[in-house]
Symmetry: C2
Subunit: 320 residues, 2 copies
């Protein structure tokens, strides 16, 4: 197999750098979901930590590296979860963290970034504009730009989830991973292809933000002019070529799901599993809902990657 940019030895080493609070997250069967879904369902729960998403696995690597080489500052663009994670990892290492986000980002995420003492700069546009602005700040201030999915630490941090999945002989047939920029999908995919090549890796993206899925299908970068999805954590328009190259090596499929399925997935996870999840974290359940025959009788694992929601909006989704 052609090689991704990720390195298995570095991923193993990452476990010694990441605060244990983010490692060895719960992994268990959710029987109560199964009658409605028609397949066995296990979840890997990445929300039971201080920042309520998996993103700190990557920011711990970056922040510890920066602190180690005497850097004082770092900037990233974020839909909100990477920013929270970088703020958390940076604060405890004395780093000045700047997060650039869209002013349309989930308010609860922005509030938490501020509460974690990061400097928050809002742009009047979408996530891609925030990416441009973060790059400008890095250039102007001469500080490290952390680019989600492009920077290998974000992929290898996420890949430590993969190590935990293959720790024992995996009992699942398929892993459903939310697809946005691609850090989580390439990270987990890399490890699964290395240690459990028979496990199918399926990426799931909203129909309203399909750029990376279209790119994967056509094997070249496809951008879109806009996004339209409640799954704010995966709403990019400009896939990164190097990440697409990796994704082409590790993903077995990439599927698109409707907003209504995402909402049904969120509601099912609340009612049957007692889990609050943000829309991106329900993409896997949405994929099962939209193609039950494909998954019937199989054992599916999906990563519950985040739970940062605005209470009122969440309430509206799960009650609708």
């Amino acid at each position: 197999m052609q090689e991704t940019r990720l390195d298995t030895a570095r991923i193993r080493a990452a476990r010694r750098v990441i605060d244990p609070i983010f490692l060895d997250s719960p992994l268990y069967r959710c029987d109560a979901l199964e009658p409605e879904l028609g397949c066995a369902v296990s979840i890997k729960l990445e929300t039971a930590n201080p920042i309520r998403s998996f993103k700190a696995r990557g920011t711990e690597l970056v922040a510890s590296q920066l602190a180690g080489n005497g850097s004082r500052a770092v900037v990233c663009a974020s839909a909100g979860n990477l920013g929270q994670a970088l703020a958390w990892s940076g604060r405890r290492r004395g780093l000045d963290v700047t997060v650039v986000a869209s002013r349309f980002a989930t308010a609860a995420k922005l509030d938490r970034i501020r509460a974690l003492d990061a400097k928050l700069e809002l742009v009047d546009g979408d996530h891609e504009l925030a990416r441009d602005r973060a790059a400008d700040i890095a250039r102007y201030d001469g500080i490290r730009l952390l680019e989600d999915s492009l920077d290998i630490e974000t992929c290898e941090g996420a890949a430590t989830i993969g190590l935990e999945l293959v720790d024992n002989e995996p009992s699942f047939d398929t892993v459903l991973v939310a697809l946005g920029g691609g850090a989580m999908a390439t990270g987990i995919g890399h490890v699964l292809k290395a240690f459990a090549p028979d496990v199918e890796v399926i990426c799931v993206q909203p129909l309203g933000a399909p750029a990376m899925t279209h790119s994967w299908r056509q094997r070249r970068v496809i951008t879109t002019d806009s996004t339209n999805t409640i799954a704010d954590g995966v709403a990019g328009r400009r896939p990164i070529p190097a990440v697409l190259d990796d994704l082409l090596l590790v993903a077995d499929d990439a599927v698109l799901v409707q907003e209504a399925s995402i909402i049904t997935g969120m509601r099912m996870l609340l009612h049957h599993a007692g889990l609050v999840v943000e829309p991106s974290a329900a993409l896997g359940i949405a994929a099962i809902l939209e193609d039950r025959p494909r998954f019937a009788g199989r054992h599916i694992l999906t990563i519950i990657c985040g739970s940062n929601v605005d209470p009122d909006t969440y309430h509206h989704w799960v009650s609708s």
Copy 2:
């Protein structure tokens, strides 16, 4: 110190018997709760497992013992969580599990007990009547009666939570534990008093189900005629003398809280921590809310002991 019925060596050994899926549950600071509570708050999350409560730590011990000595059947009374746990632990060991519950018990809990292949028998009365009925069944059928809090496995199973709390030098000053029959409080209290005697152990019970708290205060068993609380998991009326004796040795205080505080606690855990919890699991937060000056500036740990709720009822609580 006078000794409880619990044995530290057995508690350590229990970790080798309990399915790892129930061990080493998440333990983390919840910054987002802190501004409103005025103290540092850490949580030990016992809901991220297949039965959504801590009770399987105890039932794993009982079921493995029964399977080991060739027993085929076991019966317990339960408000719902112990029954689910025993059904889960018994099913994978080929045991016939009977659960006796009040017909007024939380429907979601009863549904899960049935889904886990246990025989469910409902009594037309409260939990104490279910206890009597379970004892009758055990006597009549000649099978093992599992009695929550009285049977040492339920206390020592819960005590493994305590081991995880003292694993590193504890950074918290006080542990707030939900108090019902007393298994969790005596279990965790035993370990804390042994390994971290400076940590204060405070039991929290609803004003509407105060029997064990009154008993602790008066150092003798006090029963009540009825209970009136939404915290179904801790709504007993007849404390068990041997459990009270243990509780007198390990608890530094026992406090009672109002229903409104429990509901506010549930809502705060949902909105600020993204956690669905059942009323019993919000007792610790309720205790802080009712006496902020007592806890101001301290570091409090509370155990989120269960998340089994009826969706509609839960929705009503957190929206009210």
